[in-house]
């Protein structure tokens, strides 16, 4: 019937991509994508295992159970901080305040430990949670840039910390043998409680991220904030919650660290936010948000800890080289992510 109309040019059946062809084209590149995505997601684990296995043969002192216990305990505090950071970065944000909040949490815990276990636990949680909430409010409701907001709270929390401790002159001690000190120092089969707590938190965090609506919303907000909003997801509330969580986790990690050290130390946590971000990114979470995993962050944290431990083992190297190695590794990962992002766009 098309032929009946006179002058107008009839649209010829334009050789568009047929659905079958389109499907075929995308499925072959989908296989490549799966490999790339696997590498992105589990690259840190692969490298971690390689490093651990090789180092165990090369450095006899590395592959001991004692060393493993030491490394993991040291890493557990940063791991808890990185857990919160993972969630923030998945939403496309960033939380620079965690290092200061970590230190503040430790000092508050030590100070409050004179009133017992619960006070030592909840005072830092309340204060650090409030700082996280402030971050979240300014980012989500006031629409400010996360970088600036959390930079401001980084400075603010550090200042608050110095004010509490008279510029670091006062050190609050946690009573020896108290229940709270036990939280940081106790162990099961030689594995300190902090390790177990961190693992438990990662388990819960993974469940929250993958198996709850809240977790899905984090991905949606990071993947496309506009789409999430139009789909009717509670974008602002999710952001507020995720920054609050990050503050809570950082404060809790600080308290745990203070319990281990038996005192609140003001100088800890400087630069910790950058370590956490490195671990998250190495673990395969996209800095632009929308993709990432809790397990990847765990491997990232452990990888950075193992590299540091190895450099200490080698002994000849200045420990500052740890930063060089981590930095180099970070660049490799980010380049790989960029490559992946580009290959995605072209499909």
């Amino acid at each position: 019937m098309n032929e009946t109309s006179p002058a107008p040019v009839v649209q010829a059946p334009v050789p568009r991509k047929t659905p079958a062809a389109a499907g075929g084209a995308t499925s072959s590149s989908a296989a490549g994508q799966r490999v790339a995505e696997l590498l992105q997601r589990q690259g840190a684990l692969v490298v971690l295992l390689t490093v651990v296995i090789v180092a165990s043969f090369v450095y006899p002192t590395f592959g001991t159970l004692d060393n493993a216990r030491g490394v993991t305990v040291q890493a557990s505090f940063g791991a808890v901080v990185a857990l919160g950071m993972t969630m923030v970065i998945i939403t496309g944000g960033i939380d620079l305040s965690v290092g200061s909040v970590f230190a503040l949490g430790g000092v508050l815990a030590a100070w409050a430990s004179q009133w017992g276990f619960l006070a030592a636990l909840f005072v830092p949680l309340v204060v650090c949670g409030a700082i996280g909430l402030l971050n979240g409010f300014l980012v989500a409701r006031a629409g400010m840039a996360p970088f600036i907001v959390t930079l401001a709270t980084l400075l603010g929390a550090r200042g608050l910390l110095l004010a509490i401790t008279d510029e670091g002159a006062t050190t609050y001690l946690i009573p020896k043998g108290s229940a709270f000190a036990e939280l940081g120092q106790g162990s099961i089969w030689g594995f300190g409680y902090p390790i177990l707590i961190a693992l438990a938190l990662f388990g819960i965090g993974g469940l929250v991220l993958q198996r709850t609506s809240f977790g899905q919303t984090l991905f949606a907000v990071g993947g496309s904030s506009d789409a999430a909003n139009l789909m009717g997801l509670p974008v602002a509330r999710t952001k507020m919650l995720v920054y609050t969580l990050s503050g809570l986790l950082a404060g809790f990690a600080g308290a745990l660290s203070a319990a281990r050290l038996s005192s609140g130390v003001t100088i800890v946590g400087v630069g910790m936010e950058l370590d956490a971000i490195s671990a998250v990114v190495i673990g395969g979470t996209l800095l632009i948000g929308g993709a990432g995993s809790i397990s990847g962050t765990l491997w990232g944290v452990l990888l950075l800890a193992v590299i540091q431990n190895l450099i200490n083992q080698i002994g000849e190297l200045n420990s500052s080289y740890q930063s060089v190695v981590s930095g180099g590794f970070l660049i490799v990962v980010v380049v790989a992510q960029r490559y992946l992002a580009r290959s995605r766009r072209t499909t």
Partner: protein, 588 residues
């Protein structure tokens, strides 16, 4: 301390309204013209409307008065106005959507369709007026509340999360849970597969959305919108990225929605689609409500003339524009020839030639591919196929820079986003594109600049305090002239003007129009795109009409008249389904 384990479904502020609305809808029903048996229980009284065929029932009244309105209305906007700085996007618009009807919303650019949709879906809040859902007044603070109330929307641009899987996208915010409150993925994937099967889409629900084609993504968006418990589904140009086969699927889904008593608000520029599936139509123009009524009562010509604001009874030939009455003497060798310009979903085999000294009008309704064609000619749109030659020389690679070098200049439609640099001065804006020609070894001669700027400011009568005034401070008309000056000082052979007079005041409009006239007389080849029918007809020597991204016809000589143009625009040819989108009925 454990992080909150699961954040439950957000509290549902509008849920009561939604629940309350269902019974209300039934009890208040009194004119169930379009309600089919599945949605309306037996006790429905057929008071005012004859229960004729589903589609052809005559509307009781075009503009229903508020008193009789709550009939079978699901969603109603009463005297809604929305203003933005400098613009009244919606001016006292009233509109009723009835249960089980498919209601077309049409209008040209700037008619207020998008704004109305955003008001209905809670993205914007109206400045005045109210919304009623099933007769009850309602106000949405956020899109979320509109969705909770049962209004779901498919946007023209797919609004899903590309990195997430198909299933997660469909169930975002309402994931099926197991008894521990955790997401039940196996159920989610199973339900996704079942749901998509109903749409004729077979994909692995675990596949990330971005790995699918745009059409499939659109179907996923459709599945999401329909699978929520919606009473109203708003579709904003849902077919613009669909294959014909997928369009058929979409229409089947719409039929199904109609059978379930769900109201569909359908926005499209494709006349065939509207006439095929829509019961009633609402026409908006310049933010105002023009008409609501049965689509069957209107033929295409009437619909198009309402959209364009032209009354068929009083087609006038001359009057308001400032174009000279006689045509131009065009040379007989084309300056620019385009053959077979094609781009997936946007342009289909467009060929046209442009002669020196003529104004070629490019006509067509919104979405017909006018701007895309102009962009393609200027090398600013990547093409799947097609060839462009200028002065007999074929351009091998089409790039913006190459087109400018070859003498093609495009005055883009959106001068704010694509044209002027508001923070720079008039002088800087004018010489911006000419910089490479005016500079030697990277140093720009100020004297040369001043000379050129002086010439063009006088010639185009640009009203500015001085050449150093910031362009952002000028009026729209003067901004447009600055842009024109920028391209003219490149001494182009071909000037592509995309809506050159939109949004500028009457005086400036007349000046720009007579300038176009002069330029053609001086031997420039001008392509003019305008939604203003009068401008097109009086300004152009020939008009190429586009429809659905393809050339629908060409008018020259005496044919360049309003009635002819409207006929081609509306596809008012003897064979009613003779144009491109109708090809979807072809067996594949």
């Amino acid at each position: 301390m454990a992080p909150p384990e699961a954040v439950p479904q957000p509290p549902q502020p509008a849920a009561d309204a939604k629940e309350a609305s269902a019974p209300a809808e039934v009890t208040e029903t009194s004119a169930p013209a379009e309600v089919t048996e599945t949605s309306a229980p037996a006790e429905v009284t057929e008071a005012s409307a004859p229960a004729a065929g589903v589609k052809k029932a005559p509307a009781p009244a075009a503009d229903v008065s508020p008193d009789s309105a709550p009939a079978a209305s699901v969603l109603e906007a009463r005297s809604v106005s929305k203003r933005f700085p400098g613009v009244v996007a919606l001016d006292d618009v009233s509109f009723t959507l009835r249960a089980g009807e498919t209601h077309a919303l049409v209008g040209e650019n700037g008619a207020g369709k998008s704004t109305l949709i955003k008001v209905l879906t809670g993205v914007y809040r109206p400045d005045e007026g109210e919304l009623r859902l099933a007769g009850e007044q309602i106000a949405f603070a956020r899109p979320f509340e509109a969705q909770q109330a049962g209004i779901s929307t498919i946007y023209q641009e797919v609004n899903l999360v590309p990195l997430m899987s198909v299933a997660r996208n469909i169930f975002l915010g309402r994931e099926p849970k197991n008894r521990f409150g955790l997401i039940d993925f196996s159920r989610m994937h199973r339900e996704t597969t079942e749901l998509l099967d109903g749409f004729g889409v077979r994909v692995d629900p675990k596949r990330p959305l971005h790995t699918l084609g745009i059409g499939t993504q659109q179907m996923v968006a459709l599945a999401r919108a329909v699978s929520v418990n919606a009473q109203v589904v708003i579709m904003d140009e849902p077919t613009s990225s669909l294959e014909p086969r997928e369009v058929e699927t979409l229409f089947r889904v719409i039929e199904d929605l109609r059978a379930r008593g769900i109201a569909v608000l359908y926005v499209s520029h494709r006349m065939d689609e509207l006439y095929r599936i829509c019961d009633r139509v609402t026409v908006l123009r310049d933010g105002r409500h023009i008409h609501t009524g049965d689509l069957a009562d209107l033929d295409r010509m009437q619909l198009v003339s309402m959209m364009l604001g032209r009354d068929m009874a009083e087609v006038r030939r001359d009057g308001v524009t400032s174009f000279g009455s006689e045509g131009h003497d065009a040379s007989r060798t084309p300056v620019l020839t385009a053959t077979g310009l094609s781009r997936d979903h946007q342009l289909h085999d467009i060929s046209l030639s442009l002669y020196a000294g003529e104004v070629l009008g490019l006509g067509g309704l919104l979405g017909s591919g006018r701007s895309e064609t102009a962009k393609a000619l200027a090398g600013a749109l990547s093409l799947d196929s097609g060839e462009l030659s200028i002065g007999g020389r074929t351009l091998r690679r089409l790039t913006s820079a190459g087109a400018i070098r070859a003498g093609i200049s495009l005055l883009p439609e959106d001068r704010k986003a694509e044209g002027i640099v508001p923070g720079l001065s008039v002088r800087e804006n004018i010489v911006l594109a000419a910089m490479p020609r005016l500079s030697r070894a990277g140093i720009v001669s100020r004297a040369k600049q001043d000379r050129i700027v002086d010439i063009f400011m006088k010639r185009l009568r640009i009203k500015a305090a001085s050449p150093e005034q910031k362009v952002g401070e000028l009026s729209g008309g003067n901004q447009q002239k600055v842009l024109l000056a920028r391209w003219l000082c490149l001494e182009p052979k071909v000037l592509l003007l995309d809506e050159p007079t939109r949004g500028i005041d009457v005086g400036a409009k007349a000046e720009v129009q007579s300038l176009i006239d002069d330029l053609a007389r001086e031997g420039l080849a001008v392509l003019l795109i305008s939604s203003d029918i009068e401008e097109l007809i009086e300004g152009a020597d020939r008009i190429v009409v586009l429809r659905g991204g393809a050339v629908a016809g060409e008018l020259s000589g005496d044919e360049v008249a309003e009635s002819h143009l409207l006929e081609v625009l509306a596809d008012h040819s003897p064979a009613p389904a003779g144009n491109a989108p109708a090809a979807k009925e072809d067996p594949r």
